[in-house]
């Protein structure tokens, strides 16, 4: 790039190198893990040749299937509930006349972000233990869905709120001036405009649920293994490249969801 002058004044010597170093440090371990997932040998760090053998082994594994099923059931349920309730809350809390309790509601919704994960994990464990002990209630995998929904709500809420805050009130006022009833204004103007926020909220909620390890590990009962727990169990045994294959699948899903959500947000903005 031949830009000189103003741009030149902004540069600080060496900062570009540090930035590249950071990128290298962030990506090298992931890339190495991915490369070794197509290793044909059975020793995890010894390279023998390219093969998709371990992907086949992983996909043929019944435990992997049930872990994948559990993960999807939990992540999809938690995402749907969290996105729906967070969307409603964002509508009731953004661009409105302040109502009594608004500040408190905001703090409650964002609370899961401020509590260390391990504390949430043991608190949720204690809660369900108490519910099971005193009330004799056990929701099975529902326990995990509830636990995930709680921490998904703030992640879904943030981008929806940000989108609503950026939105122009004039379009809705114009619709109202043209005698559109409030519900129609909402459905035809507000809702389409806020959809990119809802999509990124949904993507984030899905990812944090899909990837959660700490809370799931403490709350999960027998037979409720999710993919991160399955990977963790694998590390307790002699490790094979199968663990790299499954890890790579998880990473690729995260990368696809995050990239898609970023691209959607960018396209709508342009």
């Amino acid at each position: 790039m031949a830009e000189r002058g103003p741009l030149d004044l902004k540069t600080q010597p060496g900062f570009g190198k540090v930035a590249l170093l950071c990128l290298f440090l962030l990506y090298a371990p992931i890339l190495i893990l991915m490369i070794f997932s197509v290793n044909s040998g059975s020793i995890i760090t010894h390279w023998e040749g390219v093969s998709l053998h371990w992907y086949g082994a992983a996909l043929a594994d019944g435990d992997f299937h049930s872990a994948a099923r559990n993960t999807m059931v939990i992540a999809v349920s938690a995402t749907v509930i969290a996105t729906l309730t967070a969307t409603l809350a964002a509508i009731g809390m953004t661009r409105v006349k302040p109502w009594r309790g608004l500040g408190a509601a905001f703090m409650v919704i964002n609370l899961p972000l401020m509590v260390p994960e391990i504390v949430t994990a043991i608190a949720t464990l204690s809660f369900f233990a108490l519910v099971a002990g005193k009330l004799g209630l056990n929701f099975g995998i529902g326990n995990l869905i509830i636990a995930h929904t709680v921490f998904c709500i703030p992640f879904a809420y943030m981008p929806i709120r940000a989108r609503l805050e950026d939105m122009d009130l004039t379009l809705e006022q114009a619709a109202a001036d043209l005698y559109a009833p409030p519900w129609q204004t909402f459905r035809r103007v507000t809702l389409p405009l806020m959809m990119p926020g809802v999509f990124s909220g949904m993507a984030l909620a899905f990812i944090v649920s899909f990837d959660d390890f700490t809370i799931t590990q403490l709350v999960a009962g027998p037979g409720q293994t999710t993919l991160p727990l399955y990977i963790w169990n694998q590390t307790r045994r002699p490790m094979t490249p199968e663990i790299n294959a499954i890890s790579t699948i998880l990473l690729l899903i995260s990368i696809v969801v995050v990239t898609a959500s970023a691209l959607i947000a960018r396209r709508r903005k342009a």
């Binding site: 930035a19 509601a105 504390v119 709500i153 990239t259």
Partner: protein, 308 residues
């Protein structure tokens, strides 16, 4: 600003019904978090004042032993309390690890964020995406990736031995170094992203003005850029410090159970330790530390807001 005109009765009624509607809309989300997020924390508070049941869980009788056990150990024979700093040392170690991690993340994250913010807009989007992807990638998998590399049979040792630089592997896994490396690697994006969003809004005309007044690059950096991005620096440091202090996955995998941090200690009480009240007390002490950090942040933010 002129004062709004006094509301007519009809307007006031419209406000009231809007407020009622908004409260209903907010209700479901708030109810879920309150019932399944806040009530469990209150249960932990109650548990921390109870006695442990022999096989996990609690006995419903009041006891302050959990908090006493945090600092003291009861002598088996004389029943006297003896000061025992084991837990305190783990908290101290976690604090030191979290501070070191925050400083390294800041030292590398700030130049990165600044570099990103000074790219042309099209490139900036790509940089943000590249930093965002690890931010949302599976922490367990990323930590395992680090483990594979620094193991005795890992890539680094294999490469060094292959080159003939060392005869036997350098032990890196299950050391303090491994934990700090893992924490840095886990939380670096948490530093870069808030720094970037703060630096991106920086008015670079100020930088030009400073140069016109014969400031050197370093002076511009220390006297203009860093002071003006202070809110981003504070936010980034908190976003690294808080999860690093309560980290669970990193010490679990890279510390190998020998270099405990607070997170593993708490989990242990609910697992093999079978002392839920002690674990609850330890969790609340961690929460208190986090709240102090947040309080300092909010107070600083309020002060900064008044000046800006």
């Amino acid at each position: 600003m002129t004062a709004p005109p006094p509301a007519s009765p009809r307007e006031r009624q419209a406000d009231r019904s809007a407020a009622r509607r908004n409260r209903w809309l907010t209700g479901p989300a708030v109810t879920i978090v309150a019932l399944f997020g806040i009530v469990p924390l209150l249960i932990v508070l109650v548990y921390s004042f109870l006695a442990p049941a022999p096989y996990g869980g609690v006995q419903w009788k009041f006891s302050t032993d959990a908090y006493l056990n945090f600092l003291f150990q009861r002598d088996i024979f004389s029943d006297a309390l003896q000061f025992s700093p084991a837990f305190l040392l783990i908290y101290l170690r976690s604090f030191v690890f979290a501070v070191i991690t925050t400083l390294i993340c800041l030292a590398l994250g700030f130049p990165t964020a600044y570099f990103m913010a000074t790219r042309p807009p099209e490139q900036r989007n790509w940089w943000v995406l590249l930093i965002t992807i690890p931010f949302w990638s599976n922490l367990l998998v990323r930590t395992l990736a680090i483990m594979f590399i620094i193991r005795d049979e890992g890539l680094i040792n294999m490469a060094l031995m292959g080159l003939g630089l060392i005869d036997k592997p350098i032990t890196m896994l299950y050391t303090n170094f491994a934990i700090v490396l893992g924490l840095f690697y886990s939380f670096l994006p948490f530093m870069v992203l808030p720094l970037y969003s703060s630096l991106e809004k920086l008015d670079f005309r100020l930088v030009e003005a400073a140069h016109d007044l014969y400031a050197t690059r370093r002076q511009v950096l220390w006297r203009i850029v860093i002071p003006m991005s202070a809110p981003g620096i504070v936010a980034g440091c908190l976003l690294v410090f808080i999860p690093a202090l309560g980290a669970y996955v990193t010490p679990l995998i890279l510390g190998g159970g020998t270099h405990l941090m607070i997170g593993d200690l708490i989990a242990q009480q609910f697992g093999s330790g079978r002392n839920w009240p002690l674990g609850s007390a330890q969790a609340l002490i961690l929460m208190a530390a986090v709240l102090v950090a947040l309080w300092v942040y909010v107070r600083n933010a309020a002060k900064g807001g008044k000046h800006g």
